[in-house]
Symmetry: C2
Subunit: 278 residues, 2 copies
């Protein structure tokens, strides 16, 4: 597996494959690779001839009080996992390959970026849209794959790619979970043993709320029950538990098709997010 550090080398690699008539999948990540990321790679290799894993911990998507400095990093371990999953190359750019001195440009996706994660984390989605547009333009893959675990992020990226006319298919991959239902996340590493036992309660509360809505209960009532259940289970704070249309992201006012439940809650120093189709 080739390890690529510069955008020039990335372009040369992709261009060689393309000249040979081969297709390329890109899986942008922030590293701390787990089975969720590897499922993106496997989907990439089903759909394209080559998969390039990408590792870049993007400073622009962290707020001033967030965990950029302590975000888990394990480059050697990540390389080994990407290689075992079948990646042909990993792009782990030096920071100056992404943001030069005097960097000035931002890509903003309006409306979707202001809700839920965007409301809890101001500037987060602009940081994401900016770095992903750059990675996509640097690599120009045929497809790029992101986890549905970050469902709102996936919507922001799809909208950005469509609006900027990037000739790249954006694919979502289903959330991978622990046996007890906890969605895989690099940030789960922040949980201590007792928090880890509490953590699946968020997903359980979401399943219960989804079932309640399917039985005809008003979404706001079901979401409120889920908030209470999450706090009773031992979470310190619920940032949001919302039931919304999964395309428009409008708050659901009645049970119906195409709804999804979205949640973010704090457990110790760890902020967990999850979502589930209803």
């Amino acid at each position: 597996m080739e390890i690529i550090r510069t955008k020039a080398d990335l372009r040369a690699r992709v261009s060689n494959w393309r000249s040979a008539g081969e297709t390329i999948a890109l899986t942008p990540t922030m590293g701390a690779i787990h089975e969720g990321h590897l499922s993106l790679v496997r989907l990439g290799l089903e759909r394209a001839n080559h998969c390039v894993g990408t590792i870049f911990v993007n400073p622009r998507q962290f707020g001033p009080n967030e965990d950029f400095a302590t975000y888990p990093r394990d480059e050697e371990g990540d390389f080994a996992k990407f290689e075992a999953a079948g990646c042909d190359a990993v792009y782990a750019p030096a920071p100056d390959q992404i943001y030069g001195t005097d960097y000035k440009t931002e890509v903003i996706v309006h409306d979707i970026s202001d809700l839920m994660e965007g409301a809890s984390r101001p500037g987060f989605f602009t940081g994401v849209a900016t770095v992903v547009s750059k990675l996509l333009i640097q690599a120009m893959p045929d497809i790029a794959i992101f986890g549905e675990k970050d469902f709102q992020q996936l919507a922001v990226i799809r909208t950005m790619a469509r609006d900027l006319d990037l000739p790249i298919e954006i694919l979502g991959a289903p959330t991978v979970r622990e046996p007890d239902g906890l969605a895989l996340s690099s940030r789960n590493a922040y949980l201590d043993e007792s928090q880890r036992r509490i953590a699946p309660a968020l997903h359980e509360a979401m399943i219960a709320a989804a079932a309640t809505v399917q039985n005809g209960t008003a979404p706001e009532i079901a979401a409120d029950q889920a908030r209470k259940a999450t706090l009773s289970a031992g979470f310190q704070e619920v940032d949001y538990i919302d039931i919304r249309d999964q395309d428009s992201f409008l708050t659901a006012t009645a049970p119906g098709d195409n709804l999804r439940i979205f949640a973010a809650a704090r457990l110790g120093t760890c902020r967990l997010i999850d979502n589930l189709g209803i």
Copy 2:
């Protein structure tokens, strides 16, 4: 000369040329083609095998009280001029090829976009950076050429293309002028006969100010003299006449190298802009 209306056809055309090992220049314009635009085409054909003229009157770069509705449009005339100058194709996209319903994404270049034209026309440079990033991604030419008449715009576009990693060379072409010094502009069509006689006074005042700075006068004094001369000549209002470093756009506090004088002033319903290296 081929007339292209959709981004799919544009991509197919460019891709055919590229497969044949040929290079492509793009000259984005808002139409109302004059000799200034045609000089971009000629420069494009010196540097690349093919030149694609582009005509799109971009609603997102006009303010609510600006001249989007009345901006001069003459598509048939523009096509004839592009063809005579040697364009191989013109891309004149249908509006839905640029902004679909539900369009949500903006490209913002910070700092440079806030000064001079950006201060006078809030949102203008974001409209420009957004549409130009889209046109560049749609066409993916080897080079794209813009007039130095809009010098600050050229800087915004260069910065956007660099920051988004677009593998496209951005070239500036010198301002083309009428024999009396008035910089060519599609908006000169708004001038009546008596205004047209007054119009070159802006350029004359800028030449005088540049000479004064070269002789050692403080830039602020020279700029102030130019403002007064422009108003005395019959302009109704000076938006700005600034002497700045032409790379950093910092206001010049002393005579020196790399300075440029920038001006915007109103004459009747017409807003003229111009700039000049010192």
